[in-house]
């Protein structure tokens, strides 16, 4: 299939792996901040092609993993109300809140539906004027334009029964938070290609300068990913700290104007709490005042953030790259994909879930 097979070519991947092996003379630690890339690493076994000493750390790039538990609880609460159709992307259904997940809410009689697009939720609202349709607007800059479009369409259609529960986060402030942490050990970043396809990469330039860290815009197919790692390692070896683009077929320095304009019309930058990290200033999106009528929190009550704590789950440290999944005492024993203790074990994009398989590969293959 075009635009796929050529980026999964074994010979090209091997050549990139060899170039990497030649380039890396010292151990380096690189973080990707994208669940899709974490998934690709595991799916294609890309970590196995990297030189020894090169460590990949999976940052807070999985939207499911960083959504605060209080928002999941709010979603479950709204989904349980009579007359509500609660719509969500599929993988949010399994994320445990403090009183069960959305799957459980469905089993308890809630009308919970997995949709493929927020526009499907708008269609539902139009088709069921007697019901309240709520969409769980989760994600990074990638899902924001479509979610913004859904709100715009709902307004244009004059829908009074559509609202969104917003949990939108932004990548650059998370990178900033990780780099500013006292325990940071990340030396280079792979910026998520599809986030940059919407936003461009200008925002990353001050980060690279300020923290003297290379940031490489990277794609998702095996050769895309290896190319991104190679450019990043090359910068580290040469002592450079720039923003480079290894995903030129999808990303330019400038943003995607219409997409960004749509996001800016509907949303404004706001503080956000990240699961496992805490509140980060200006790290998310909230509905603008003009669109407050579509805010599920206004309709069903505001989410109250509580400082809950767990002694066992290390997912916060995993998300920050301080800990690797296998460092957690619960990993693979009390915490598995069937019974996740933390979000990073829930989503297929989560680092712990990804490493759960990797662990089996290591132990049984030994």
């Amino acid at each position: 299939m075009r635009f796929m097979d050529e980026y999964r070519d074994a010979a090209a991947a091997k050549a990139l792996a060899e170039a990497l092996a030649k380039t890396a003379t010292r151990p380096w630690t690189i973080m990707e901040v994208c669940g899709g890339q974490t998934h690709a690493i595991v799916r294609f076994g890309l970590d196995k092609l990297l030189p020894r000493g090169l460590t990949l750390v999976h940052g807070p790039g999985c939207p499911v993993c960083v959504t605060p538990i209080e928002l999941v609880d709010k979603a479950v609460e709204i989904a349980g109300r009579p007359g509500v159709i609660f719509c969500s992307f599929g993988d949010m259904l399994r994320v445990p809140g403090s009183r069960g997940d959305l799957q459980r809410a469905r089993a308890d009689g809630g009308d919970v539906r997995a949709v493929y697009s927020p526009l499907d939720a708008v269609h539902l609202a139009r088709a069921h004027p007697e019901r309240e349709v709520v969409f769980f607007a989760v994600g990074f800059e990638t899902t924001a334009p479509a979610n913004a479009m859904a709100v715009r369409q709902a307004r244009d259609l004059g829908l009074k029964n559509f609202s969104i529960l917003v949990s939108h986060v932004l990548v650059p402030p998370a990178i900033e938070a990780i780099l500013s942490s006292a325990t940071n050990r990340v030396q280079g970043f792979l910026a998520a290609g599809h986030v940059c396809a919407v936003m461009g990469w200008e925002e990353y330039e001050p980060l690279a300068r300020k923290h003297r860290v290379p940031i490489v815009v990277t794609g998702f197919e095996p050769t895309d990913f290896l190319q991104g790692v190679l450019l990043c390692v090359r910068q580290l070896e040469e002592g450079r700290a720039e923003v480079e683009n290894a995903y030129a077929r999808a990303v330019r320095r400038e943003d995607n104007r219409p997409a960004r304009a749509m996001v800016c019309e509907i949303f404004e930058v706001s503080p956000r709490t990240w699961r496992g990290i805490g509140e980060i200033a200006r790290s998310g999106l909230a509905l603008r005042e003009e669109y407050a009528a579509f805010d599920a929190e206004k309709r069903f009550g505001a989410v109250r953030m509580t400082a809950s704590d767990s002694a066992e789950c290390l997912s916060g440290l995993v998300l920050q790259g301080v800990k690797r999944p296998a460092d957690c005492p619960a990993f693979g024993t009390r915490c598995t994909p069937e019974h996740p203790l933390g979000a990073t074990m829930v989503s297929g994009e989560g680092a712990c879930a990804a490493y759960y398989r990797y662990r089996e590969r290591e132990t049984e293959g030994a």
Binding site: A114, I277, S310, H339
Partner: protein, 354 residues
């Protein structure tokens, strides 16, 4: 490195549902949660040797004849989908389970659970489709039952079917018969049924002309058995897809299987739809595909036999049975040469966000 104290932020993680008190959709996905229902509720409740064999159907002797007996129920939305409907699905599913037990399908039953208000014309259409599927597979629908449930308490129409057939396989079939060096054959491309169903559901974001692979498999399976090829195991791929079936067989065989990822055919529309939705075609449902385990030396002849039948004309060799492994293991060698372990899904395959 110390864990606590040095860290700026601490995580907050909830205790999960360790034992959900109600059945979730995930229990029906053919993955680990479904397995758990089997292991913890049904197998202990009905414990007996025929059930313990855990095949697609029960195989045993009754009045001097060796027979296979199988049952299944069908809930599919929409009821009519590209390439089939709930009726042809039910007949073919039952026929295929019997064929995978090495049996010639003979009789089947059908229970109809109908929701009040279901159109009679649709019911007639389903019955016609069942008759055509039964004729094509050489099976007769000899008994049945009808129940009507209140409007709103069913999804239009559910079917429950059982089937009986005479076992024609001369040697026992099943995962335990797989031996080191056996070839693993696949009867055609995977993922069509699941993606055809998805694309037919309302609200789906894109259109395709994808058809379900729903078809009877008795002819190629019985032909293979009659040919004298020493077939070790036959298994049709259903809701958990190719990957789940391979994992199940490897666990039963207690052996490692090596699969060549590039050898498994997936047609372009299925690949494209799966890529878009973040689904893995190896875990997507099929209704007209099976795997066959045969000795390597007879693999070429087996493929030639399978390819004579339209339904399995793209049959191919996808891997081999390896050494003993206590818990079984399936290793796929990927497009770029890296190996990965295939695992069961936990519950349903859920589309990813981005």
């Amino acid at each position: 490195m110390s864990v606590r104290g040095e860290v700026a932020f601490e995580s907050a993680c909830p205790m999960p549902d360790l034992n959900p008190p109600r059945v979730l959709m995930a229990h029906g996905g053919g993955g680990r949660m479904a397995q758990r229902l089997l292991d913890e509720i049904f197998l202990p409740a009905f414990d007996n040797p025929l059930l313990a064999a855990r095949l697609d159907g029960a195989v045993g002797e009754l009045g001097g004849a060796r027979i296979a007996f199988t049952t299944d129920s069908y809930v599919v939305r929409p009821i009519f989908f590209p390439g089939g409907d709930i009726g042809s699905l039910a007949v073919n599913g039952t026929v295929n389970d019997l064929a995978m037990c090495g049996a010639r399908p003979a009789w089947m039953s059908a229970g109809f659970l109908i929701e009040e208000g279901f159109p009679i014309a649709d019911l007639r259409r389903v019955a016609d489709s069942m008759r055509r599927a039964a004729d094509a597979a050489g099976v007769r629908l000899v008994t049945g039952d009808t129940k009507v449930v209140d409007a709103g308490k069913g999804d239009g129409l559910y079917l429950a079917t059982s089937g009986v057939g005479e076992v024609v396989a001369r040697a026992p079939l099943g995962p335990a018969e797989a031996r080191e060096g056996d070839a693993i054959l696949l009867s055609g491309d995977v993922g069509r049924h699941g993606m055809a169903i998805m694309s037919a559901r309302e609200g789906f974001a894109f259109e395709t002309d994808l058809q379900s692979d729903c078809a009877p498999l008795a002819a190629p399976a019985l032909d293979l058995l009659a040919s004298g090829v020493a077939v070790r195991c036959l298994r049709d791929l259903t809701r958990g897809g190719l990957a789940t079936v391979l994992v199940e067989i490897s666990e039963g065989a207690r052996r490692e299987f090596a699969i060549e990822e590039t050898a498994v055919p997936v047609i372009a529309p299925v690949r494209a739809a799966c890529e878009m939705l973040g689904l893995d075609p190896w875990y997507v449902a099929n209704e007209g595909r099976f795997v066959a385990f045969v000795p390597e030396a007879e693999a070429a002849r087996a493929l030639e036999i399978l390819r004579r039948h339209e339904v399995s004309r793209d049959a191919c060799r996808i891997g081999a049975v390896g050494a003993a492994a206590a818990k079984g293991r399936v290793v796929a060698r990927g497009a770029i040469g890296v190996r990965r372990i295939l695992d069961r899904l936990s519950g349903e395959q859920l589309p990813r966000i981005c």
